[in-house]
């Protein structure tokens, strides 16, 4: 069984700062991490490796420094990693990214399962997983919290706001994974030392025989008109919590006034 995990390196937005003049992300001093949902996807793949002997390949499209995210995946137990990187890919939107990743995956051994995190925490689009599935003509199921593979079939649980459904699909398939699926493992010391010395395979635009019209800015119909920080909410009532009983009384009073209760 071959499992391909697509990851993205993102800025650690738990400590994000916006330049107030340009309204863009200040990247200096912000650590790059593996997109947290992708860590959950990787964990699913690594469990399939532990329990079923699956081969795990991790692939990312990004600048050369995304190599460090791939090394982290190797350290956690991925068998192979691939960095899809070329100046021609700069400025890709979700469509161009989906196309590039799909072409890159086609150069690998045929995957039985392709995993994505539910979305990246920087763009929040959740479009690339389904995009790749479409281009590879594979079924896709999003928002997965549980995966089981038995007899060439996939049993999954897909979560909605008010419940979940159990589904069974034939392989190959594409899944996008939720945070609640698992707790990502730490890298082992052995894995880290091995990852440090590993050669990282690179795929350029030429290597994946990409159509120049479909990658980078040229292949991206999405145009960003403006990025801005939404204005802070003002007003509201703050209830002092020093005396819980009193605070609760005030809260109930206010809710009654507003006819909420």
């Amino acid at each position: 069984m071959h499992v391909v995990v697509c990851i993205k390196q993102v800025p650690d937005t738990s400590d994000v700062k916006i330049n107030p003049e340009t309204n863009t992300l200040i990247r200096e001093g912000v650590q790059s991490i593996i997109n947290p949902f992708d860590e959950n996807a990787l964990e699913i793949a690594l469990v399939l490796k532990d329990t079923q002997g699956a081969k795990v390949t991790v692939i990312t499209m990004g600048p050369p420094q995304a190599e460090s995210a791939l090394r982290e995946c190797l350290a956690r137990g991925a068998d192979e990693v691939v960095l899809v990187s070329d100046r021609a890919f700069a400025g890709s939107d979700t469509l161009a990214t989906s196309y590039t990743l799909a072409r890159a995956i086609e150069t690998l051994d045929k995957p039985d399962l392709i995993l994505f995190g539910k979305q990246a925490i920087d763009g929040d689009t959740a479009q690339v997983g389904p995009g790749v599935a479409e281009l590879l003509d594979m079924p896709v199921i999003t928002y997965i919290r549980r995966v089981e593979v038995a007899e060439g079939k996939l049993k999954v649980e897909r979560v909605f706001e008010d419940g979940y459904e159990k589904m069974e699909v034939p392989l190959p398939a594409v899944l996008t994974i939720l945070k609640e699926a698992n707790v990502p493992r730490m890298a082992s010391l052995k894995g880290r030392m091995k990852a440090k010395k590993a050669e990282i395979a690179m795929l350029s635009a030429a290597a994946i025989q990409a159509d120049p019209e479909r990658v980078g800015l040229k292949g991206s119909p999405t145009k960003v008109v403006r990025i801005f920080t939404p204005p802070k909410k003002t007003g509201g009532i703050r209830i002092d919590g020093t005396h819980p009983l009193e605070a609760a009384r005030t809260l109930v009073e206010k809710l009654r006034e507003q006819k909420v209760i």
């Binding site: 650690d12 650590q31 991490i33 350290a75 707790v183 990502p184 493992r185 730490m186 890298a187 082992s188 010391l189 052995k190 880290r192 030392m193 440090k196």
Partner: protein, 485 residues
């Protein structure tokens, strides 16, 4: 002169020890002159003084026993030099936030309670995990100013005011000379926060650090900063049994690279962590029994990597395995390990809070003792044997690099609580016989004075009392801390 208030909020009558005291008045000085004014006012009115910072201490050192409360939590000035000059009310959080803008330096002492004030930390010689490499608060203080019981001030600079053998001589800012003999005991060369620090021909600054406010009141502290290491690598090694983990601790201590910290989690701790995992922390596989965390600080990745490679050899020789060892080499991964480690004290507290609902007489019983390096295995065996014999629930974790683990007994009943308390006293006897200390980092305060008496003997306590009288003849400063006046 600071305003003297007679209306005292109940919070100022207690600290984290949950002990409660009484007082007649409180003031909040803003500078050294105001501390001196308040001290002179108290002297004129026959009042004793209890000095407070953030009241995060665990031994009741800041709990008043009548008289006046001198609360220094509003003295918050920070002045940048090459190092850092701070007023005593500045908290550890504030120091860290301030240094963030300087970027390349840090203040090494790292007690878990980051809302502690620097005055309090200096007074009880607080420390945390990284004291294994950087020392306790003592090692990070370059100079200090103190207000004495009569309102006079002394300024002490490291290396500039030394005792001659056991004899000392100090000059106050007003020109008064205080001289006499130091206590006759010698503070053991282990991590300790028990009683006055005494050595032959010692630096007299060290006499005041860890004296729990009984000799003078810190009004200003000059702090040493360390260059921030470019590479911080944390390794969490798991073992199948505790003796292997202890062998690993000895082996790591024998290596040429000194880790910043060596921390320990016994099997009961790992079990508790399995059921109280914090969001974001990793999961511990079921067959991992005992863990040792080692953190290396290095100038670059290559140096860190070399340190960890040498550590690997020790690991392999002690029944550990590189497969069953976590490593964190960046902030993100280290934060996950931090969440993992910090869940433990929180889990203990929430368990105890739960049990207090059925019986409020139950509290946590936490030890804070340390022994010399060659007694570690004996101490660990003793802890386990007595706890198993009594059938008590417990966790053992902490700063094993300094042979300083915390045993936390988790009593289910008042009977178990009493049994645990009695056991604690018995352990103290054993620790003292091993040449150890009854408090390695929390201090003595008011709660652990019987332990200090055991450790120092009546003569040691009398020596301390005699020294205190040279600085504070009427025993006005923090009476009840360390010993009864």
């Amino acid at each position: 002169m600071p305003e003297i208030h007679s209306d005292i909020g109940p919070d100022y009558l207690r600290d984290e020890s949950r002990k409660t005291g009484t007082a007649d008045s409180i003031s909040f000085p803003l500078n050294e002159a105001e501390i001196a004014d308040a001290v002179r006012w108290a002297a004129a009115n026959g009042q004793c003084i209890t000095t407070q910072g953030a009241r995060t201490g665990l031994t009741g050192g800041a709990v008043p026993s009548g008289g006046h409360i001198l609360n220094l939590s509003r003295m918050k000035t920070i002045t940048d030099r090459d190092d850092l000059i701070v007023q005593p009310g500045v908290t550890l959080d504030e120091i860290r936030a301030h240094l963030k803008s300087r970027g390349n330096v840090f203040f090494a002492p790292d007690p878990t309670e980051t809302t502690a004030t620097i005055g309090g930390m200096a007074s009880c010689n607080a420390s945390g995990a990284r004291s294994f490499r950087y020392g306790a608060t003592r090692e990070s203080i370059l100079a200090a100013r103190l207000v004495l019981a009569d309102g006079d001030v002394i300024a002490l600079c490291r290396g500039q005011c030394m005792a001659t053998g056991r004899n000392f001589r100090l000059k106050t800012e007003s020109g008064r000379v205080i001289e006499g003999d130091l206590p006759s005991y010698t503070t053991p060369a282990i991590k300790t926060a028990s009683g006055y620090f005494v050595r032959d021909s010692m630096d007299l600054l060290d006499l005041f650090i860890g004296s729990e406010g009984t000799l003078g009141i810190f009004s200003e502290l000059h702090l040493k900063l360390q260059p921030w290491p470019a590479s911080v690598w944390g390794v969490m090694a798991f073992f199948g049994k505790e003796p292997d983990a202890l062998a690993f601790v000895h082996a790591v201590r024998g290596l040429k690279d000194k880790p910043a910290s060596i921390e320990f989690f016994d099997s009961c701790s790992l079990n508790l962590l399995r059921s109280h995992r914090l969001e974001g922390a990793p999961e511990v596989p079921a067959d991992y029994h005992t863990a040792v965390y080692v953190e290396y600080h290095a100038a670059d990745e290559d140096e860190a990597s070399g340190m960890v490679e040498r550590m690997c050899e020790a690991l392999d020789g002690c029944g550990g395995s590189e497969d069953r060892t976590w490593i964190a080499t960046d902030d993100h991964e280290r934060e996950r390990i931090r969440l993992f480690r910090h869940a433990l004290p929180e889990a203990v507290n929430s368990l105890i809070d739960e049990r207090r609902k059925t019986d409020p007489a139950i509290t946590k019983l936490g030890t804070d003792m340390a022994v010399p390096d060659d007694r570690l295995d004996e101490l660990m065996a003793l802890y386990h044997a007595s706890l198993e014999r009594l059938g008590l629930e417990y966790v053992i974790f902490g700063h094993i690099g300094s042979n300083h683990v915390h045993v936390n007994i988790l009593p289910r009943t008042v009977k178990q609580f009493e049994q645990g308390k009695a056991q604690y006293l018995e352990w103290a006897d054993a620790v003292i016989r091993m040449g150890g200390t009854v408090s390695a980092e929390h201090g003595i305060g008011k709660l652990k004075t019987p332990f200090l008496l055991k450790m120092m003997g009546a003569r040691g306590i009398e020596d301390m009392r005699r020294l205190k009288r040279l600085f504070d003849p009427q025993c006005r400063l923090n009476p009840g801390n360390l010993f009864a006046c």
